[in-house]
Symmetry: C2
Subunit: 381 residues, 2 copies
């Protein structure tokens, strides 16, 4: 129950360990086609260029920047946590200039500040921001931000690593041009793969670049050939066969449950966890309307030893929760309720373990109160 | 039995599907340290910067070039198959110039041509070549080529994707500066990970670059922090936890067998396969001293329909063999005997299936002759 990788369903682990077949085997290629259409469903898009990049989310981020940005470009980057800073690194390593929109950590990106920046930089090529900041648990208004980007003639690049399948995300309806995610968060698949999707506008940009993409491995002009998006299928690299079995199974399970039902489940389990935490006197970093149900960042109670609590939870309760990052290191815990880990059993187990550990550490905790509050929330919904 | 991914031992598949834990979990970090030292054994090196890149071999290749090469550099690239061409792409996308040493496909790299080129380009920063060309089955004299590189003041960058654990490879003794491999060949692990190793000389170059590495994801200055090579461990990206379980198990199995014993096993099974194929009248693309035991490229008998034979082998015998690439497409088959697939059962099954399919296609084959020849070879050794 950290910030990811999340728990993995036995069906997905079982699919993972099927015998490896060739990356050009007809059976494998048929599965690749299914993965593409299942990803389109998860992203709510008809984009033909919707595929899993054969590397972790950081490489998915990089694939968006190196394909869409050229040397000399200007990119507006919003930062309200760790990952906006990583976007800046990507922009600058493409030989482009990053114009930063700084937001306080733990707050959503401010659309007014973004619009002011778009106005001040009419030559910007793209607007980049994080939908769901894993470092703070704050959600930004992606629909509004993408509308602004379009209005000012920018491509939008959206980090959906933690949002995909956990909260509402509608790539086509919201007009997102490039989006990347990870498999190890609300899809509850093994880490190491990054689903991405590019709009037709973005794909046109990729196909009509002035310079070659600086990464051969991530060059979508080549990768889309292997994934059979437009034209004859051609070998590019050896796909991670087994992790793709697992991704296929995780996406089939998402389709079985239904995407909106998955969003609702994440919300419901979050509400129960929040009720329990608040009953313990623990409060959230993020204001209520912007809280991510799948990533609960909470203030560590005063006088409590951060590392000792997390270590006891891990050793005695086999339970991982996440540490704070950056300015919140030592001040915040991040409790994940992602994918398969977003279920009643985990909510109650986390609350009871945390109660026990905090009580043992001398915090003023009435044991059982948190679990009771969570159960009331479960019963009421 | 194609050119990889190879068959995977049940122990490795079983390790793969263990429950996923956090990428900063103490148990996982302990396993990372074991992986590093097991990889040092496999590469025969003491290089501290010996780690698995969290992406396929193509990304391992890219990690060597983007870390060691800077814009304006000159790199001598030897090409005797597909992968030298990919190296050239990498060099050029780093903003550097590639000086090509062209060799006929199916032959080893010619050390004299390399020395002439080194002499003609005293300002070259690196010499890059492929140890074991997967596209043709030819091995090059890596020791001699690395000695030449050092003699002329160049770093050496070596593609060992197909050689690692299959034929002799001694990174320290041969003076290799940067080497990358894949997990899906003679290690018989799942595809998607790329072991790399950098000498101290190469690591010094990486730490003292004039420009930032153009890939954030592959920047070894950051990656080595996550892998705990020099200094405090810091989060970089989420490692592919489960494939690393599998890699750990595959490396443990390699250590159990012994590296030299693994090389010998590959050689022995190759000799038996070769005896059988030659008894069928099938001859090799590569001259005997340069043949890779793990990748047997053979001429398709005249009048035989390449695609039909491979398709029948796959459908009726559940057996994959590889097609030819480039100028050898339709003219050559590539039969892999890699890792767990390099065993007597596979040799005999491949020969009997091929005999049956070729005989059915009207080729002048005496059924049973090939298997008998292979068995004689097994008995004599």
């Amino acid at each position: 129950m950290g910030p990811g990788p999340s728990d993995i369903h036995p069906r997905v682990l079982s699919a993972l360990s099927r015998p490896t077949i060739g990356h050009l085997d007809p059976a494998f290629i048929a599965m690749m086609d299914e993965i593409k259409s299942l990803l389109q469903y998860a992203f709510q898009t008809d984009n033909p260029l919707t595929i899993p990049v054969s590397a972790p989310g950081s490489a998915g981020m990089e694939s968006c920047f190196v394909n869409l940005i050229e040397p000399g470009d200007k990119v507006i980057v919003c930062q309200n946590g760790v990952f906006g800073g990583r976007m800046r690194e990507n922009v600058e390593r493409c030989g482009a200039a990053a114009v930063m929109v700084a937001n306080p950590w733990g707050k959503p990106v401010d659309p007014q500040a973004v619009e002011d920046t778009l106005k001040a930089h009419p030559d910007a090529a793209a607007l980049a921001f994080v939908h769901a900041e894993t470092s703070t648990g704050a959600a930004s208004d992606t629909r509004t931000l993408c509308e602004l980007a379009r209005q000012y003639g920018c491509l939008s690049i959206v980090d959906a690593v933690t949002s995909l399948a956990g909260i509402e995300l509608r790539v086509d309806q919201w007009g997102i041009d490039a989006v990347y995610s990870g498999t190890q968060k609300c899809l509850s698949c093994v880490p190491g793969i990054s689903p991405v999707s590019f709009s037709d506008r973005a794909t046109y940009r990729i196909k009509n670049r002035k310079s070659k993409v600086q990464s051969w491995f991530l060059d979508m002009n080549l990768v889309m050939g292997y994934w059979g998006t437009g034209g004859k299928r051609a070998y590019h690299h050896t796909a991670p066969i087994n992790p793709l079995y697992a991704l296929h199974e995780a996406l089939v399970m998402l389709e079985e449950e239904g995407l909106e039902q998955s969003w609702n489940r994440h919300q419901q389990n979050h509400r129960a966890l929040a009720a329990g935490l608040e009953a313990m006197g623990i409060s959230f970093l993020v204001d209520e309307p912007y809280r991510l149900p799948q990533l609960n960042a909470v203030w560590i109670p005063e006088g409590v030893d951060d590392a000792a609590v997390r270590s006891t939870l891990l050793q005695d309760f086999n339970l991982e929760i996440g540490a704070g990052l950056g300015e919140y290191a030592g001040r915040v815990w991040r409790i994940g309720l992602m994918g398969y880990a977003s279920r009643k059993q985990n909510v109650l187990q986390c609350l009871s373990a945390l109660e026990a550990v905090l009580a043992a550490a001398g915090a003023p905790i009435y044991t059982g109160v948190a679990v009771a509050a969570a159960n009331r929330e479960f019963t009421s919904t």
